[in-house]
Symmetry: C2
């Protein structure tokens, strides 16, 4: 691969760090002599197949462009939720992609996304290998859910976890100003994995007496026991703060939120959840009768760049940069992943891993880090999270509001 | 008033700036030779009447304590929602207060709060005047709602408005990553006044194409027209972002949220609202059928010190400091208020105003600043808001999460 062009795209749900990975890819590509153009496909594989490809390398004119891009949340290239067929069953989209890659002289493709996106990257790489092409496909993980296997953690999780922990710190402080008994139930994202909800326990590490109870989807949720536990906590102090994952389920497997809401499914067949906290709020009001409030942290978990983690953004940029080196070194059908070398000092290494080990798979929160009796997170879990939320980012701004990097998408190559 | 002691308390709902005002009172009091002790009553007038009073001046040992206090959200002294009887009808609580003031040698009392708290300060000052006491009572306004008359704006509003505008900037950016038609409905606080919701329009001033529609409680909400407007916006671009105030009402006076939820009342007889956005989300799903999401910004509006406004915190400290000077200068039965001298350069002056002009009264968002036809905020409204959200605060922290100042409340004086 003497002289080549790179293509990068983003897919899945937003994070505050996904453009930091994009900035890492671009920065490294611009440093290397062997790369002529850095292209970006709009709206992931969907836009790629429609030929919606722009020259992003030429739009980076100054160092400030890269740092502004790195602190811009959500996907600067847009996203999609599209599943590709197996290339062995239907190679139509793959032939379209190959024609585009050929026309644009693309030697390496980087797909930044979650476990669904790793499936797309895996299929693309398999197709190229099957047809004897030397086009390299590398997955760059991202997800606020932190539910990808193999990698110690995913870029995007640290910032989302920092937002959750910061919001909880402020909500706990807010709750204790009144003297009347009150229960606040905070809902964090997490369909099947409790990583993000577990971050709500971090304030306790810094001396806060709350949250009192933290419920992850990894442990069946017992409604009767929940009411007993809340009553018990109310005896100890007048304000009780509970955090629940959107995906908590009863032991029969019913989502707690489904006890109130109609269920909807997204394009991947995943149930769209929300409302567990609101259901529990009504339950506590009815059964205990005290002042109760529910707070759904909602989309800010994935896009609040104003509360991003410095560690997360730096690592996201680094994994993007390392992915370029891996691809140029010959890797394909693999993803860049983090291996934690040590907690203190916190050290991670970027490694390669077969995409098949990530695609469509989920890593849940370790049961041994859950204190099931007290409905809390053990110190091992907190120690895992802490370095990932370390450091703040002074977001770029105009003095009033954050500012974001945007690509000119008017001209396709 | 040769040598005297001061007492300060906080009441009503939290803001990110209410402790900045407290820090201003303490800082100025510690600078002046004529003041021996600065006391703080816990949980507002409720705790005061129970004698829950601590020596807060002696707990400030370093400059860092004051700056940490200033950036700590919610009430460091706790809050209450208690309405006092008219002193002419029942002077029991007033006699209790007078005995405590007498015992502690308190010459000036500062009550930091919203319009309900100004009612308490007014009644206290009237009682002291009626009995011929020279104890001075000064109100220091705070409320995220910005609904106090006379004052150009209230401390606490700027930080809440900055959080709303920042969240909207991030949510707008988050929404545009997909290509499928989608409607996002964001709900901001504001029972009868649309000040906070109006701040959602600020991103448009900085070139964002959204929010598309902004609905304040000042204008009756027409459900049929809303659906027509959303459909029209969806023709223009695929992602539509709408912001509504929690308190929007139909022309019959029914709260939109009450169309779905049971209504609750707080201690002051105010209806507790939430759920307008969720009702509209269901409506849009049903009537238009596109992807729809509702986001309730919830309590972070009042406690997100991590997104506080520099201007707001500085002004809140200043009005606290000025209140001390006003009281020592002989004022009583009055509140410190802001008068805006000019927009550019932004200049405000602290003035005095009779508490009767603030107590229990509400100032709504000016109708002439609302573009009723386009459901948006006119440039005059944006120009009013801009200086109040100027500047960021680097919150004090431990490298991971924000840290807060806490008083030792174990010993009453």
């Amino acid at each position: 691969m003497s002289q080549t062009n790179l293509l990068v795209a983003q897919s899945g749900g937003p994070t505050a760090a996904i453009n930091a990975s994009l900035s890492g890819v671009i920065r490294r590509a611009l440093e290397l002599d062997g790369i002529s153009h850095v292209y970006g496909a709009l709206n992931g594989i969907s836009g790629l197949l429609e030929g919606k490809i722009i020259d992003i390398g030429s739009q980076i004119r100054r160092e400030e462009d890269l740092s502004l891009l790195a602190s811009t949340p959500a996907m600067a290239l847009g996203s999609c939720r599209q599943r590709l067929p197996d290339p062995e069953e239907d190679d139509t989209p793959y032939r379209s992609a190959a024609a585009i890659f050929d026309r644009l002289g693309i030697g390496c493709f980087f797909y930044i996304g979650g476990n669904d996106s790793m499936d797309t990257a895996l299929k693309l790489s398999r197709y190229f290998t099957n047809i004897g092409s030397d086009i390299r496909v590398i997955g760059i993980p991202k997800t606020i859910d932190n539910d990808l296997p193999v990698t110690d953690h995913t870029p995007g999780y640290g910032s989302a976890a920092k937002f959750v922990a910061t919001a909880l710190t402020e909500i706990i402080n807010d709750c204790r100003i009144y003297t009347v008994p009150a229960v606040t139930i905070v809902e964090a994202m997490g369909r099947h994995a409790g990583w993000l909800t577990a971050a709500a326990a971090v304030p306790s590490h810094f001396g806060f007496s709350a949250p009192d109870l933290v419920y992850l989807p990894e442990i069946p949720f017992d409604i009767a026991a929940f009411l007993i536990d809340v009553r018990e906590k109310l005896k100890q102090h007048h304000t009780v703060v509970v955090t629940v994952s959107e995906g908590i389920k009863t032991k029969d497997g019913a989502f707690v939120c489904s006890l109130r809401c109609s269920s909807k499914h997204d394009a991947f067949g995943h149930l769209q959840l929300s409302g567990a906290a609101e259901y529990l709020e009504q339950l506590v009001k009815q059964e205990i009768g005290c002042k109760t409030r529910s707070v759904e942290l909602n989309v800010l978990q994935r896009c609040a760049s104003h509360a991003a983690s410095r560690c997360d953004l730096d690592e996201a940029a680094r994994i993007g940069s390392d992915a370029v080196d891996f691809a140029l070194g010959g890797a394909t059908g693999q993803a860049a992943v983090f291996t934690r070398v040590s907690d203190e000092p916190y050290l991670v290494r970027t490694d390669l891993c077969d995409l098949a080990k990530l695609a469509n798979l989920e890593k849940t929160f370790p049961l041994e880090w859950i204190d099931e009796k007290n409905h809390f997170i053990r110190e091992e879990g907190i120690r895992y999270i802490l370095p990932l939320i370390r450091g703040s980012v002074q977001p770029a701004g105009n003095g009033y509001l954050p500012t974001f990097f945007t690509f000119d998408t008017s001209e396709y190559v």
